[in-house]
């Protein structure tokens, strides 16, 4: 006699069609209200002559954008943004990779060394700016003191106070700060390369140098991609460091789009024009970032 299951298995509860949206809603509301909506309304402000204070303003179409190319400071800022991007990606990536390769070898005290090299990355940008502003101090700064100490008095100079050196002087702390991240990523990636690859290369008679270029570099491709994508996205956002160290000066020597936007909005009361500057750099940042965002979305699907 067959026993028949008398109770039907409980029907799996699906929670209904709306359940996912209840989970999604709080974050999406905040995201739209404080990021998407402000970003889009900036598009509108960039088409006005608003000064940032008055109750009224006029729609001026694309006037602000038309003015951009003839603004000499914008030219400087774009040039500085490009230099900043190239330098603060190339140096940290190269130094970070070199440190990672060295740390991945037979080294004592690896955790402490790694800790030290990543330390600048967790400090507030403003404090990094303060520390380096203090090191660069023409009279009492450690850098000039060191140069005088080793007899190079002629090289001692107001690093942040003159056009010729200011931008480079601001980029040094940025390199200091940004080297830790590629180092960590490369170190983790290096540990994932199978030893057999190196053994096979050794059997084939490859030198250490050849092994680096034939085995290590190709295996690091995913890490290269992440480092490059994230550094690019990060570079376009540069603001804090320059604002806190030089405020764009001396003159306009260290202006970038972010600081020039800020100066226009909060100092020169040209909120419409300043916003147009922000829109331009944001569009570039989005264009650069989209491949990364797409790859992340694709992987999650």
């Amino acid at each position: 006699m067959a026993t028949v299951a008398l109770t039907k298995p409980a029907k799996p509860k699906r929670g209904g069609k709306w359940s996912p949206w209840l989970f999604a809603l709080p974050a999406l509301v905040v995201y739209v209200a404080f990021l998407v909506y402000p970003a889009l309304s900036s598009l509108w402000f960039s088409l006005t002559d608003w000064d940032g204070l008055s109750a009224t303003y006029n729609f001026v179409g694309l006037d602000n954008y038309v003015k951009l190319p003839s603004d000499p400071v914008v030219a400087t800022a774009v040039r500085n943004n490009v230099i900043w991007t190239v330098v603060t990606i190339a140096f940290p990536t190269a130094i970070g990779l070199a440190l990672a390769v060295a740390l991945n070898g037979k080294v004592h005290g690896k955790p402490v060394l790694r800790l030290i090299f990543y330390t600048p990355a967790v400090l507030p940008l403003v404090s990094i700016a303060s520390i380096w502003g203090w090191l660069y101090n023409p009279q009492y700064g450690a850098i000039n003191s060191f140069l005088r100490l080793i007899g190079l008095d002629g090289l001692a100079q107001p690093w942040l106070g003159q056009d010729s050196t200011a931008l480079w002087a601001v980029m040094v702390p940025a390199i200091w700060l940004r080297t830790g991240f590629p180092m960590l990523l490369y170190l983790a990636a290096l540990q994932g390369i199978p030893k057999e690859l190196y053994e096979a290369a050794t059997v084939d008679g490859a030198t250490r140098w050849q092994q680096f270029w034939q085995v290590t570099m190709p295996s690091l491709r995913p890490a290269h991609y992440i480092v490059l994508a994230l550094s690019l996205i990060d570079s376009f956002k540069v603001f804090d460091m320059i604002y806190a160290m030089t405020y764009g000066g001396p003159g306009t020597a260290t202006q970038v789009m972010g600081t020039w936007m800020y100066a226009n909005v909060f100092q020169y009361y040209q909120a419409g024009y300043g916003t147009a500057i922000a829109v331009v750099i944001t569009l570039v940042a989005i264009a650069v970032g989209i491949p990364y965002v797409r790859s992340q979305t694709r992987e999650a699907s």
Partner: protein
């Protein structure tokens, strides 16, 4: 939000110290590389070391002997001066309060969204995901004018609460990115079993997903706390009175006031960075593990 760049956490975050199984260092070559690295590391950390030395010496000693000399005398008074004039009691409280409000709330709402994206059948899932991840590329300064207007009309300028919304919004893309990729690793069978037992989505979320994801939640919370503690631009434009300033804005003011007092300035900078340094040293395994877990897998 600031210097911490987002990377996926694919696997459960293992404290980084336990991962490498490299051979024990041996031989002369290892020693040479180690020595070389130590020299570079000393150079790397020298700005901070110099800061510490300067902060504990009297100003007269600093001026008399120069910044690179070893102090003749030591003092704590720089810290006392800096603490009072820099208003650090207030800025500390504000930054801590802000992080305490922002981080748990941000992690919770991001985890909820991440769960919906990773495990629930949601319409327009890919569109939502793409739009949220796109937030990673948006610079804060594109939003400051509208956010400023919004907060002014809501009466929320010069208040820590006014920072809450923008901070949450700019933290969400990174947190969702990390958490959803972690949630996807949880096998579906666990959910099916729970559903057969009659558990709804909320119970599954709170009793299964969150407890299983503790490592990812901790990593995200730490990185988020660092970013919140360090955020500068929103705080700069939204906070006016000294009573409401956070550490980065307070430090900037302090820097101006102490321009000629090098030892006091060094002490003030140290006061501002010590909590984050201690947190980093104590929690570094989580930070390192969270930042790099995504890199090892293509």
């Amino acid at each position: 939000m600031t210097s911490i760049a987002p990377v996926r956490v694919d696997a459960p975050v293992v404290p980084a110290g336990t991962v490498p199984a490299s051979q024990p260092p041996k031989g002369r070559k290892g020693l040479v590389v180690t020595l070389l690295l130590i020299v570079v590391a000393l150079f790397w950390i020298s700005p901070l070391a110099l800061l510490v030395v300067t902060a504990v010496r009297p100003l007269s000693d600093f001026i008399g002997n120069g910044p690179l000399s070893w102090p003749d005398a030591f003092t704590w008074s720089n810290f006392k001066d800096a603490w009072g004039i820099g208003n650090f009691a207030t800025t500390y409280r504000n930054s801590a309060l802000l992080a305490l409000m922002k981080v748990p709330l941000g992690v919770l709402v991001s985890a909820m969204l991440g769960f919906a994206l990773a495990k629930l059948r949601m319409k327009f899932r890919r569109t939502v995901m793409f739009s949220v991840f796109l937030g990673l590329t948006i610079p804060i300064y594109i939003t400051i004018v509208p956010v400023f207007i919004m907060m002014r009309s809501a009466g929320a300028t010069d208040s820590l609460f006014g920072l809450l919304g923008p901070y949450l919004a700019f933290g969400i893309p990174f947190e969702v990115l990390v958490l959803q990729s972690f949630f996807r690793q949880i096998p579906d069978e666990i959910f099916e079993a729970a559903r057969v037992d009659g558990a709804g989505d909320w119970r599954i979320f709170f009793t299964i997903v969150l407890p299983l994801s503790t490592p990812a939640l901790v990593t995200v919370a730490i990185l988020d706390a660092v970013a919140t503690w360090n955020e500068f631009l929103f705080a700069l434009i939204l906070l006016n009175s000294d009573a409401n300033k956070t550490i980065p804005v307070g430090l900037l003011n302090f820097q101006g006031q102490f321009a000629n007092n090098n030892t006091g300035l060094a002490a003030g900078i140290l006061i501002a960075v010590v909590p984050i340094l201690i947190a980093y040293i104590v929690l570094q395994r989580w930070i390192v593990g969270g930042l790099t877990a995504g890199a090892t897998k293509g």
